[in-house]
Symmetry: none
Subunit: 144 residues, 4 copies
């Protein structure tokens, strides 16, 4: 449902946006709806935990069914629960903006993008750009 060609296009467009904005080096992961990695690129200079954070933003979005911005807001209200979710998921849920759901024309979730490297807000800008310029809809929170 999310072919490699589209996953790769999302990454390239997200990174194009990052370079245009002069953001810090990014790691960009694209997962299918089942939470499995389809494609990944890490820009030169990004740190060694960036894969896990990028993956966890995307996986956590798929886990709960909403973009990681929503998870971030819930973490501020209920830190303990989010800490537990981190354990439950084996460290695969990261409550920080930059995890964005990918929706097709029928509003079906076909995957998620997770980006890490700059502040969460900037990571998210690139994720949304990559998704929308590839012809999908992006959900940073609960899909409407």
């Amino acid at each position: 449902m999310l072919p490699l060609s589209k996953a790769n296009q999302i990454i390239d467009l997200a990174l194009e946006k990052a370079r245009a904005e002069n953001f810090a080096p990014l790691a960009v992961a694209v997962l299918d709806a089942g939470g499995h990695l389809v494609a990944y690129k890490r820009e030169d200079g990004a740190g060694i935990i960036r894969f896990d954070i990028a993956f966890g933003k995307a996986w956590g979005s798929l886990g709960m069914g909403f973009g990681s911005r929503e998870l971030t807001e819930r973490a501020e209200k209920n830190a303990t629960f989010i800490g537990v979710l981190s354990t439950v998921s084996g460290g695969r849920m990261v409550p920080s903006p930059g995890g964005v759901l990918i929706l097709d024309d029928n509003r079906i979730v076909v995957g998620a993008v997770g980006i890490s490297g700059d502040v969460g807000g900037n990571d998210e800008i690139c994720a949304v750009a990559g998704i929308e310029l590839s012809g999908y809809a992006a959900a940073t929170g609960i899909p409407k």
Copy 2:
């Protein structure tokens, strides 16, 4: 002590309640008194972490001997301890309402239901409905 036929009935009645109330898509797990899965159904559209949360609400209830609403209240008072319990249990204890003990006519715990998908309060409403309409008593906190 908790036959498959009853576990399945609890799930179906819980989901009937969820559809009548128009709640979000739910995952419903029924565990026996030993904490082992007897039956499970995940409605279409529920996220990929929902099984683990539903299971963890039920397992945590059996772990402590009270419904997960009580665990949620303790988490607010003592976040560190609940975080440790999460680790101790390998992520099998989730402090959020929606884990409910199943008691028979002699007030013996014969299992637990765990539901995830909507907010905890709504998950719990469905768990209680499923248990009570199946002829058991439900304990959302410490059994009386």
Copy 3:
């Protein structure tokens, strides 16, 4: 792609076959293509490891892209590699017959069934029966 209604039908038909054949009590798990549990039933009397075995037969089939009978044959030739795969997957790959891929009319893998409780060959008979009687095609090895 694999709705709960169909997953549940597969389980019920597999268990019907098991009762007609007088097999031992079974645990039956149905996973979607991403390896996530959609529905599960454990017959009364099945042991407490049966969920993990049934799940692992199905997950392992999806992991490799062929039914677990093929994985079983490879395990006989290369025990070390299969042991490593067990570790790699966190115990989610079980090399024994009874894990069967579910294919739709276009030969797309939409999920897998895993059954445990009797000998692997009998588990597999029930998995195939449940899948085929539900209108899908079953692959116990490499899909043709």
Copy 4:
């Protein structure tokens, strides 16, 4: 030492080889010398454990300092030790051909490629092709 541009080139050339040979759908991971993922692509149709296997072939090669073909041969002679290494590494060492070291002009290891999807020998052919066509040297065993 292994820029994203080169890692990506290695993957694309490896996949070009795979398509020319009509191999099964592949997952291709490129790691830097520190064992961290730089780039990854999974062809449509590859199973859900393929990332972990591809990663583990590459990581295991870096772990020991030789391509995974050598690890495979040692596994045949000393299965127990390889099983222990698998556990020691948390499932990140996979003893099957297809993990190949990337060496620069000074014979310094700058990373590794791991491929999974077809039989190990075919996976390895694609890894070597990708590395060599990108201007690096490949080591499928102990670097000379």
